[in-house]
């Protein structure tokens, strides 16, 4: 039986922070993974996530969706692009030229087949060389295992765009892995 006690109204602030920790904090790895792949270094990734989490906390009341991860990843992505615009000297500006990255099919050569048994380091470098619009879609799909619909929500694109970017990203990655192994090694040194 409950004993008598002081009846006090719930404190909205602490309800909010408890909700934030239970719902948002489990997505911290996903947030960091995306930020790290976009920024391509630890220091910038930490800045992006820190800023994104602050924004998430600030706008937490407006979160009424059903998927915290999608909501948070969209914030991380926007934060990254906003911060990047503020620091143009980083030279990270790159636009996706749909012509240069047109869908080409080289056809699998015997070299391709062997080169695909690549180590994590080679894959990492190849993935980092992709332009960010292609890199982010691959990271969301292959590492974060998002559906096309989720990727479309995170990147604010149509599902058709997601599908064609993903196709292009995979073809491009395949080319990176087959045609530039020597450069990779030089880059390494």
């Amino acid at each position: 039986m409950p004993a008598d006690l002081h009846v006090m109204p719930p404190n909205p602030d602490s309800v909010r922070s408890a909700r934030f920790e239970v719902l948002v904090l489990p997505c911290l790895d996903a947030a960091y993974n995306l930020a790290r792949w976009l920024a391509r270094n630890d220091a910038d990734a930490q800045d992006v996530v820190q800023e994104a989490m602050l924004r998430a906390l600030r706008y937490f009341d407006s979160f009424h969706g059903n998927d915290v991860r999608v909501w948070l990843l969209a914030i991380v992505r926007n934060t990254y692009y906003t911060l990047r615009t503020k620091t143009p000297q980083s030279g990270l500006h790159e636009s996706l030229d749909e012509d240069t990255h047109a869908l080409v099919d080289e056809g699998p050569s015997p070299e391709t087949l062997t080169l695909l048994a690549v180590d994590v380091g080679t894959l990492q470098l190849a993935l980092e060389r992709l332009p960010s619009p292609l890199r982010e879609v691959l990271v969301l799909r292959e590492l974060e295992e998002c559906s096309y619909k989720e990727i479309a929500a995170i990147t604010e694109q149509k599902i058709g765009t997601v599908m064609s970017r993903l196709a292009r990203a995979r073809e491009r990655l395949k080319v990176e892995l087959t045609c530039r192994p020597k450069e990779v090694r030089r880059h390494d040194l």
Binding site: M8, L25, L116, V120, L123, L143, L173
Partner: protein
Amino acid sequence: MTCDDTKLLMHAYLDDELDAAQSAAMARHLQDCPACAASYGLHGRLRKALAQPGLYHRAPDALRERWRLAQPVARPASFQSRRAPLVYAMAAGFAGALLLTSPAWIIVLQQPGADSNPVVAEAISSHIRSLQVQHLMDVVSTDQHTVKPWFEGKLDFSPRVKDLASEGFPLIGGRLDAIDGRSVAALIYKRHLHVINLYQWPADSTATAPPEVQRHGYTVIRWTAEGMRYVAISDVSAGDLKQFVLAFQNDAGTPAANPPR
């Protein structure tokens, strides 16, 4: 389907994003066209290569700690899947044995005001998670005679289920959940627009816990009756939750006497 179509659709096929008709067309094409089939196999392998855990960047501990400390709230004991897997149940057995052999520990855990009480912390995080869309209910019914049989075979006990609509707390459904390392029954009630979760499981000790705690704006009321342990949690006012608990306790013995709604 032509090879040109395949170039784009193959990726949606790999990702299982095609509808049934397109999938079938794609499968047929891959059977007939060795070139496309080879390309498909290659991309399948590429996908597997990308799934290597070494490519995933986990958040550094320092970053995680910063966000925990910035948000000083009860840390849920675990973020495991809501449905307890078998290993979890086994771990529960071990934890149970530990509890039996360490009576002093029980007292420490149930110190009034002990901020680390795992049951309270777990009940709060479970309650919060349950409020996410599609997490609230496994069985949706305002009829206690639908909800109660639903639990049969899913738990090693029969939970007490009753509708309290006449008292202003309509039953809206039930759910399996995990608290304190074991599977528990969760009944969901409404109070106006608020949700009340009522967890119950067989009591394994007669230790008396502080009946009511306020934490992070949630009220948690715990009690033991007829061998069952109950935990009610909600963000309704403490007074309302007490009223709910009293209503539940009042006709504890006569669940069948209530006509189904």
